[in-house]
Symmetry: C2
Subunit: 217 residues, 2 copies
């Protein structure tokens, strides 16, 4: 019998669960009803044990000898991750990336609703993007409190990321996703995630270089 665990759940597990959800969704669309950890692992590029272990942190979702029911598993993971609800989000920094996110429908599809956008550039304030009017950043703290916002997205230039974070915290936000390529400092109780695509460019560049070097040996 499974019992609730209070083990710390590895970060990597969470990000793999997100991948599983994605793949399960695709399968569901394709009409696949049942999947084994073996097959799912193959699709996600991980080890089957890994999947079973990841899921074990949250409960028993499979049927021995059969596998996992696709829809059921997807729902179970979504619930485990706290995605069976909507989250109000605000965005700070209406540059290229900010605009792209405002117009991106995947966020909404996943339950993240951007309810306000802020920028400190007077030329941008008042502009309407994807049905939202850009507001002055100074109004952020009050707005987020009024609108019950829990998550902030930072898409400012790096040098303004910390200031954006401060406004967000003043507004009582609990989590920040920072797209700016700079670290921000926050108290322990705020969870911060960095989306650092340059980082990934670096990794690819490095891997290619390495392969070339190895190839020469």
């Amino acid at each position: 019998m499974h019992q609730l665990k209070f083990e710390r759940i590895p970060r990597a597990t969470i990000s793999r669960l997100a991948v599983y959800v994605q793949e399960l969704e695709v399968m569901e669309q394709q009409g696949i009803k049942v999947i084994s950890s073996e097959k799912l692992a193959q699709l996600c590029g991980v080890n089957p044990s890994q999947i079973r272990k990841d899921l074990a942190y949250f409960g028993e979702f499979g049927v021995r000898g059969v596998g996992y029911y696709v829809h059921e598993l997807r729902e179970a993971i979504r619930q485990s991750l706290g995605l069976d609800r909507t989250w109000n989000v605000v965005l700070v920094g209406v540059g290229n990336l900010g605009r792209a996110l405002l117009r991106h429908n995947l966020l909404r599809k996943r339950g993240f609703v951007i309810v306000a956008a802020f920028d400190c550039d007077p030329f941008k304030i008042g502009e309407e993007i994807a049905g939202l009017e850009v507001n002055c950043t100074s109004k952020l703290p009050k707005s987020t409190r009024d609108m019950n916002v829990e998550i902030g997205i930072i898409t400012t230039p790096p040098e303004r990321a910390q200031r954006a974070a401060n406004y967000l915290m003043e507004g009582g936000i609990k989590g920040i996703v920072n797209f700016a390529p700079s670290r921000i400092s926050t108290p322990e109780n705020i969870s911060v995630e960095y989306v650092d695509f340059i980082n990934h460019m670096f990794s690819v560049a490095f891997n290619i270089t390495q392969k070339q070097i190895r190839g020469l040996l």
Copy 2:
């Protein structure tokens, strides 16, 4: 005396090195000449030993009793990562995100030059964005070979990511950075990185939920 190591370098090390470079750049702009692993660690939110170990994979860059010379260290890391050159890049999928990346100047600043953009939507073909004309994806393989492109960025919808990847591979590309939320399958010799911001949204949502649950106990 340090000697070249052929140990496998952890992925996490690479992504931390990218962070170090960022922070070192900021320091350099602020006129800071020397930094200790202790201080740098604090800024990057990691352990000082971690920094020293990460650097040790590539060489000895510090001065005992003093620390690291900021400019020198930054250059050393850039060189170690293979960033002391420019990389030709193509982008597939000119949606919101694709456009944002095309207009984003950080890529170029880091030596990643987007030399062509592709999309399969006839309405987008011919459009000019950030000085680049959008081309039909069918032309991709020839173009990338002609232009000596090594890295491809995928910003298509998830269901078209694999197709984009196939075109890129046909074009002889060596690395892919996939912004679409779907896994792609590639042979071993292609290095693939996933930039999955939804993933990070999930993580933040999960962390907030967890804290609330713990708070109730």
